[in-house]
């Protein structure tokens, strides 16, 4: 009896082992999840599978250099095309975690906005970190980051992203530093102290959030009067019936990029996917579903005027914004994060 059972068990294990090695992996694309990924899926991923008949697996993630490093270095990466932030793009390219991108296979670099093309990645999303508020709840409307720190004129709590990145820039902007000098000032010890001192003025009223949807919930439940928030979330919330508004001046923009993980077994299919996603009309379709900019130069001109007005790439929105300095944060994130932790504990 025992002998029969163990024979059956051995057979089962052998079959399971064989079957797992026999199946090859589908092309896997990884994005940020939430309404943004839903828009990308509707406009890009699903049409790609339907048109090219290549099976596409969709996954979500929250970012984190360590995860990509672990996957590539173990040799067992189960992801192919990944959406990364600007600092993850720079680090991963230096550490040789991504394939070097041949833009000629994606239509040539002339069809893309210049800042979206890099040696290891092609731009996927352009978005801004803005000051957001619920216009239905605030009688007087704020005009900029200086008002963010004015608790008398605008009573109520404030929402900010947990961590020094974006927060310290906002503190200096609230203290009157012009956008073009932000990183110069932040690079000095005096500048960092100034930023923390400004944050001290509203410290007990700050609610720190970590995920992109949280500030929407905080504004909707009136937990905060104003919050730093991603522009796409405001547009999505307004589509759902809210009356949120945002301030484009002195907002911080950044490019997320698509990369192909090094050693991907689906490299050709990955290039086909990136080429497919670079098409202007399909990017225009994506723009109609969510308010993040895309990489193809022509895409904005294909959408209607009122949709274009919500986009970070629209001239009136882009002119007042400045880019988050990825190189600065690569050098200083760890150090400033420790400073931030200490400051938060006081």
């Amino acid at each position: 009896m025992i002998l029969k059972m163990s024979k059956a068990a051995l057979l089962l294990v052998a079959v399971a082992g064989l079957s797992s090695t026999a199946s090859a992996r589908d092309l896997t694309v990884v994005a940020w999840g939430g309404p943004v990924q839903i828009a990308q899926s509707t406009a890009q991923f699903k049409p790609f599978s339907e048109t090219t008949k290549i099976p596409l697996k969709e996954v979500s993630w929250e970012g984190g250099m360590g995860i990509l490093r672990a996957k590539v270095q173990s040799g067992q990466a189960d992801w192919d095309v990944v959406q990364v932030e600007s600092d993850e793009l720079a680090i991963g390219c230096e550490e040789n975690l991504y394939e070097k991108l041949d833009v000629s296979r994606l239509g040539g670099k002339d069809i893309y906005i210049p800042e979206s093309v890099s040696p290891c990645g092609i731009g996927s999303l352009l978005y801004n970190f803005v000051l957001g508020y619920d216009s239905a709840r605030l009688q007087t409307e704020p005009t900029g980051w200086v008002d963010f720190f004015d608790l008398k004129k605008f009573p109520g709590k404030r929402g900010l992203r947990s961590g020094p990145k974006l927060t310290l820039e906002i503190a200096l902007l609230g203290d009157g530093v012009p956008a073009k000098d932000i990183y110069k000032v932040l690079g000095t010890e005096v500048g960092v102290a100034r930023a923390f001192k400004k944050l001290d003025t509203i410290k007990p009223m700050i609610i720190w959030w970590q995920t992109g949807q949280k500030p929407v919930e905080l504004l909707a439940s009136n937990e905060v009067a104003m919050s730093g928030i991603y522009n796409g979330r405001i547009t999505a919330a307004n589509k759902a019936g809210k009356k949120f508004k945002m301030i484009w001046k002195d907002s911080m923009f950044t490019w997320d990029s698509w990369v192909i993980l090094k050693g991907s077994p689906n490299k050709d299919a990955a290039y086909k996917l990136l080429d497919f996603m670079g098409n202007a009309e399909r990017q225009a379709q994506q723009l109609r579903l969510m308010a993040n900019g895309t990489s193809n130069k022509q895409a904005v001109s294909l959408v209607s005027k009122d949709i274009a007005a919500e986009l970070p790439s629209a001239p009136e929105n882009h002119s007042g914004a400045f880019e988050v300095n990825a190189a600065f944060w690569l050098d200083n994130l760890d150090k400033l994060n420790e400073r931030f932790t200490k400051w938060a504990a006081q």
Binding site: R69, I91, W208, D331, D334, A345
Partner: protein
């Protein structure tokens, strides 16, 4: 006499046979534990001391710095070797890891290395590399930077383990505490242990009456009530924590009820602060306290308490001198369990706590995922493990000193 010897030999053989079988039955579990627990922990310990990034990228410089005394700047030959190394590292793509490693020591080192490596090809071979590099960036004339390279010699070093407890290695090889502005981890460890201690005490104060109550009700009621204690235990931790957000937020259930009952004017701040962390963590850890305590209390015979009462003891004295000591093993088991689990908490304080309520696991996660500084993440884990083991050891020593006698 020979019969006895034969019997003894037979007995020994059968005993060995039984021992062999029982050991053999345990071997699969042992292997499983080694693979799933032993190997990863050993890997963590290894990564906390592994420091070979710089020696792979800049081998000649490291070699030359071995004889450097650290008192004055290195000579021209070392600068030349560094230039050669930087070129080579850029070509075989090992520069990035070395740049990150040195950036952990001195912020800004990363861009210093990359900028220097980019500009070096244009330098003529006859010029003084020392002067050229100091011209490119005055940091190359700073002893501190050369000291950082020397400290990163590896292949193993104490750099991460020291950083994790706010210490550093000086250029001359001695260790010292970091300056107050750069120290943050000891404070974080302190905060973690404090929060865990408070949660343990709250669980004790709430769990003890609950367990006692469960022992006093008839059995047919006790089992359903036990299930009530266990049902939250079986629900996903994330779901429970998210539910607390809904309950405790400004317009949440608790505040709305208090407002409607006219008990408060302003909403109470029950979440995104320490209060929310205590509430949510206690809710999650209470079953871990109740279950071991209940199992001990159930086996306490009521005979002893009745005997004490019949000898004239007041209820309070009976409780303190007779009942409580018998519960002691359950209480200590429950407290240890709650404390050990609380120390490792990450998700709950991250969702319901403020910026100054984050426990050490949050920072271990930060260094693992976001910052990809695995050396520091592993070093923090190692210290947490050592601290926990020491605590348990001290506690068990204390228990052995008082072997449960009723004085």
């Amino acid at each position: 006499m020979s019969d006895v010897l034969v019997l003894r030999a037979q007995h020994r053989r059968s005993k060995l046979g039984r021992q062999f079988v029982s050991v053999g039955l345990v071997v699969p579990l042992f292997l499983f534990l080694v693979l799933t627990l032993g190997v990863p922990i050993a890997g963590t310990f290894w990564r906390a001391i592994d420091d070979s990034d710089v020696v792979h990228a800049l081998p000649r410089t490291i070699d030359a710095l071995r004889i450097w005394d650290g008192q004055s700047l290195p000579d021209e030959s070392v600068y030349r070797l560094l230039a050669v190394d930087l070129q080579g590292a850029r070509e075989n793509e090992t520069l990035a890891l070395a740049a990150r490693r040195l950036n952990y020591d001195i912020a800004g080192f990363r861009s210093l290395l990359f900028a220097t490596a980019r500009r070096l090809p244009g330098v003529a071979k006859e010029s003084s590399f020392k002067d050229v590099m100091i011209q490119l960036d005055p940091a190359w004339g700073d002893l501190k930077h050369w000291g950082a390279i020397k400290n990163a010699t590896g292949p193993v070093s104490l750099f991460f383990l020291l950083s994790a407890i706010d210490m550093k290695m000086n250029a001359d090889g001695t260790t010292s505490m970091r300056s107050k502005e750069d120290s943050v981890f000891l404070q974080l460890f302190g905060r973690t242990f404090f929060i865990s201690f408070v949660v343990t005490v709250i669980c004790l104060l709430l769990g003890f009456p609950l367990s006692y109550f469960l022992t006093t009700i008839p059995a047919r009621l006790a089992y359903p009530m036990l299930v009530l204690v266990l049902v939250p235990f079986w629900t996903s931790l994330l779901v429970r924590t998210a539910a607390w957000v809904v309950l405790l937020q400004n317009n949440g259930v608790v505040n709305s009820v208090l407002h409607d009952l006219q008990l408060t004017q302003e909403p109470l701040a029950l979440i995104y602060n320490r209060v929310g962390v205590y509430i949510a963590m206690t809710h999650i850890l209470l079953p871990y306290f109740v279950l071991p305590l209940y199992s001990v209390m159930r086996n306490i015979s009521p005979v002893y308490s009745r005997a004490a009462a019949s000898l004239g003891a007041t209820p309070l004295r009976t409780f303190l001198k007779v009942y409580l000591p018998q519960c002691a093993p359950g209480i200590s088991a429950g407290c240890l369990l709650v404390f050990a689990i609380a120390i490792g908490f990450y998700v709950t304080p991250a969702l319901v706590g403020g910026a100054d309520d984050q426990m050490i696991s949050y920072y271990i996660a930060f260094y693992t995922n976001t910052s990809a500084n695995w050396g520091l993440a592993c070093a923090l884990s190692v210290w947490l493990l050592i601290a926990t083991v020491l605590l348990f050891w001290t506690y068990s020593r204390l228990l052995n000193v008082v072997p449960g006698n009723i004085p």
